[in-house]
Symmetry: C2
Subunit: 204 residues, 2 copies
DNA sequence: TATCGAACCGGACCGTAGTCCGATTATGTG
DNA sequence: CACATAATCGGACTACGGTCCGGTTCGATA
């Protein structure tokens, strides 16, 4: 899995193991990730147990957990590539998502892009955001830093850390699922709501 | 358990069982709630299993689950009384938490009161907010309605439903624990942040 | 008080996330 | 190529949330 990225986008550790990895271990990790992705797609995340994944990958349960640590971490790893692509678009992509646009425009575009991302991977993402890793995963840290910097740029006097965290919980996968399914708010309304929210929070 | 409240605060179902309850069942529910509250306080929520509670209450596991359905529902029930008291203060208490103050002031006071409430019961509340019940529990519905109405009052043109949900996730227990422990933001700052957030979202 | 049906009880049982450790295998070195 | 060692493997094991169902108890009725 080419998760590697020379010149890491931001000064943050990425999932990929830093140390050298034995050949069989690397091969097993590959097989596990492929099996997980396939089973998640075939029968849904909630109907796929860790044992299922281990069996489909042809490895033992111990191997699975030693490599990924937990179910949520595995889900995160499955999304790693796409998460990196999104991150790339944030940092080196076209405005308004990428650099070049005013902070408020970028914040709005970030939310819209994130909502699209969530919509595409709601199940896996929801599984990845379970437990304490939710707030400490690399993708979350990247988002947090991104939003914090944009807020600070738009309004140096505000409490950017607090406001950033607050805005980010409104982009959580479980929250999206709840709003979409239980409250039946269509995507369009979520995007408009986000725009309204950011417009109010960020002076402009 | 005197969860009863004549003239229910808002048109919403409360936890208390509507139908008559057999005497032994009522006694067992009492014992379960007391045991849960005691064990939660003594050794912490995360170190207390459902079997522990059942054993301490002198009932079987089946009884425990039939009465309360799930671990999170039990945690919710443990907090039921205090939750009702808070709800009471919202609806019939003194301003600015209760009626009489401008919507924006009431929203700010609501957040501050909620933060105090969370700080006092963070562990139990975090356990109660796990799973899909998080967004469909009576206390959440009450909060949602309350915030929605205040938002609509302050600004009839806004998307009050969306904004209400968004503001409420910023008052979640796990979010509070994360901000307080991992990010080390003191309560004072959380309250100031909430004030800032509401001041920006609600025109004044 | 005797009877009866409904509600309740409890503990055996299931599935799953996560742990552990003896057996195995890959890789660097002589 | 043979060896030593350190990392890896895998499946048995634990703990826990949640389910099920045969036996029991309550309480309304006569």
């Amino acid at each position: 899995m080419p998760t590697e990225q020379q010149t890491p986008a931001i000064e943050l550790p990425v999932l990929a193991p830093a140390a050298v990895e034995r050949a069989d271990a690397a091969r097993n990790r590959q097989r596990i990730l492929c099996a997980a992705q396939r089973l998640f797609a075939e029968r849904g995340v909630s109907c796929t147990s860790m044992e299922d994944i281990a069996a489909a990958a042809g490895v033992g349960k111990g191997t699975l957990f030693r490599r990924f640590g937990s179910r949520s971490a595995l889900a995160l790893a499955v999304l790693s590539e796409r998460e990196s692509a999104f991150q790339e678009a944030l940092i080196r992509g076209e405005p308004p998502l990428g650099p070049g646009a005013p902070a408020r425009e970028r914040l709005i575009a970030f939310g819209h892009g994130r909502l699209d991302f969530i919509a595409d991977h709601a199940e896996v993402l929801a599984a990845a955001e379970i437990g304490p890793e939710r707030f400490s995963s690399p993708p979350y840290e990247v988002s947090r830093l991104h939003v914090t910097l944009l807020l600070r740029e738009a309004d140096p006097g505000c409490d950017a850390e607090y406001l950033a965290e607050t805005l980010l919980v409104a982009l959580g996968a479980d929250f999206y699922v709840y709003l979409g399914l239980a409250r039946e708010l269509p995507m369009e309304r979520l995007k408009e709501g986000w725009t309204e929210l950011v417009s109010r929070v960020v002076p402009g």
